[in-house]
């Protein structure tokens, strides 16, 4: 009985601490700036074409993060901003990967054509 009451007390104290932590989270302005930069970087990498879903998700989360910050929900804003950042980085990497893949494919096709041409010439 005594044990139970002690546990309850500890839980209450922890909850209070957590709530206090929540309330004291500052507006994640730095995180938002990082996230915004990541989205812009993805855009310049061509993510609008190569990874439209990831880019849309990132922008959506960035917008929602700003709304949550403006409403004082800094914890939620921070989480959304961080997710928006990884989403944007994924979009950027997908765009870069797509571009590189296209280059490799194009070069290999060009090589095949070149090789065929050389073969034809030398057989003439």
């Amino acid at each position: 009985m005594v044990e139970t009451s002690r546990l309850a007390l500890a839980t209450a104290a922890l909850s209070a601490a957590l709530l206090a932590a929540c309330a004291s989270t500052p507006p994640p302005d730095a995180e938002l700036a990082i996230s915004n930069a990541a989205v812009n970087s993805a855009l310049s990498a061509g993510a609008a074409d190569a990874a439209p879903d990831e880019l849309r998700t990132a922008r959506d989360k960035l917008d929602r993060a700003r709304v949550q910050r403006d409403s004082g929900h800094n914890d939620i804003a921070l989480a959304l901003a961080r997710e928006a950042t990884v989403d944007a980085r994924l979009a950027e990497q997908k765009a870069l990967a797509a571009r590189t893949r296209k280059s490799a494919d194009d070069l290999n096709r060009a090589n095949q054509a070149l090789s065929d041409e050389v073969e034809r010439k030398s057989n003439n």
Binding site: A79, R82, E83, V86, D87, R89, L90, Q93, K94, L96, A97, T100, R101, S103, A104, L107, N108, A110, N111, L114, S115, V118, K121, S122
Partner: protein
């Protein structure tokens, strides 16, 4: 003692049960964290991700550890989900980076391959050009050799023609000087009896000019032979005439040998009073019959028989 050990085993059993339930609850009650683990393990098992995106995989691992800690610390499900999501996105980033780097390697390989193909093409072209040039050169050389041979042949033919012409001309002049006559047996030079004393076979000095010219002709025309034939008129016995005509012919032959003509190219024979060229009834006719005829062979050294 027994009581304590039984208590301990109960506690241990409870701890084990708790651990097992924690383990199974990780799989069961947070599918997002479970997904993140599955994605991480799949990426970790891929050699390409290992090789090209080890840094990104470390970030993913760290994010996954944060999510696990939050889960084990019984953080709010929402927070665990958030961290699991971040971890999963980091895994995707790592996969994407590895893909790009593998493709960058393909680009580098393709560039190297293109250089190799071009070099190969240039090498083949150069080899072909060299082969063509060598062929052209050898053809030119053959043509030049043929032209040179043709020129030599033409020059030789001309020289031969000039030589033949010159020789023929010299021969014609000599034969004219020797007062040679064309007969059906060939060219015949006749030496009259004025070149011998009566009844004798020794040539007089006046005959020497003709002998020298004949020797010259024989030297110029090494393929020819001579037949020296002596004749008399019908005065005297045939035996004497035969002998005298033979000695006179031999006398001419010896004179020719004396001028350097090889003896085996000159045949001498006396015919006596046979084959007269004029009547023996008068002095003028008899003088014409007393003679030595020198018959030139054909180009092959043959003299037609009488």
């Amino acid at each position: 003692m027994k009581n304590l050990s039984s208590k301990l085993s109960v506690v241990a059993g409870a701890a084990l049960a708790l651990a097992l339930s924690a383990c199974s609850s990780l799989q069961a009650d947070n599918p997002n964290l479970m997904d993140a683990h599955a994605a991480y393990n799949a990426a970790e098992a891929n050699p390409q991700t290992h090789e090209y995106a080890s840094g990104e995989m470390m970030q993913a691992r760290a994010a996954l550890d944060r999510a696990d800690r939050a889960y084990n610390d019984h953080d709010k499900a929402q927070h665990v989900d958030h961290l699991a999501y971040e971890a999963k996105q980091h895994v995707s980033i790592a996969t994407s980076v590895a893909q790009r780097k593998a493709d960058e390697q393909r680009v580098a390989d393709a560039n190297a391959e293109r250089d190799r193909i071009r070099l190969d093409a240039r090498t083949r072209e150069a080899d072909q050009a060299k082969m063509d040039a060598e062929q052209a050169q050898s053809q030119a050389m053959v043509a030049q050799q043929q032209a040179e041979a043709a020129r030599r042949d033409a020059a030789a033919a001309q020289a031969n023609a000039e030589d033949t012409q010159a020789r023929n001309q010299a021969l014609v002049i000599l034969l004219q000087e020797l007062n040679a006559k064309q007969t059906e047996r060939g060219m015949v030079v006749t030496m009259g009896d004025v070149l011998f004393d009566t009844g004798r076979a020794e040539l007089k000095p006046g005959a020497m000019r003709s002998i020298q010219k004949l020797a010259e002709l024989m030297k110029d025309d090494p393929a020819r032979n001579l037949s020296v034939e002596g004749f008399t008129d019908s005065t005297g016995s045939p035996a004497t005439n035969d002998a005298l005509s033979a000695r006179r012919a031999e006398s001419v032959r010896q004179a020719l040998i004396g001028q350097g003509v090889s003896g085996d190219r000159v045949m001498a024979r006396g015919y006596g009073e046979a084959y007269p060229v004029a009547s023996n009834d008068n002095a003028a006719g008899r003088q014409m019959n007393r003679r030595v005829e020198i018959v030139l062979s054909d180009q092959n050294g043959r003299v037609a028989k009488r």
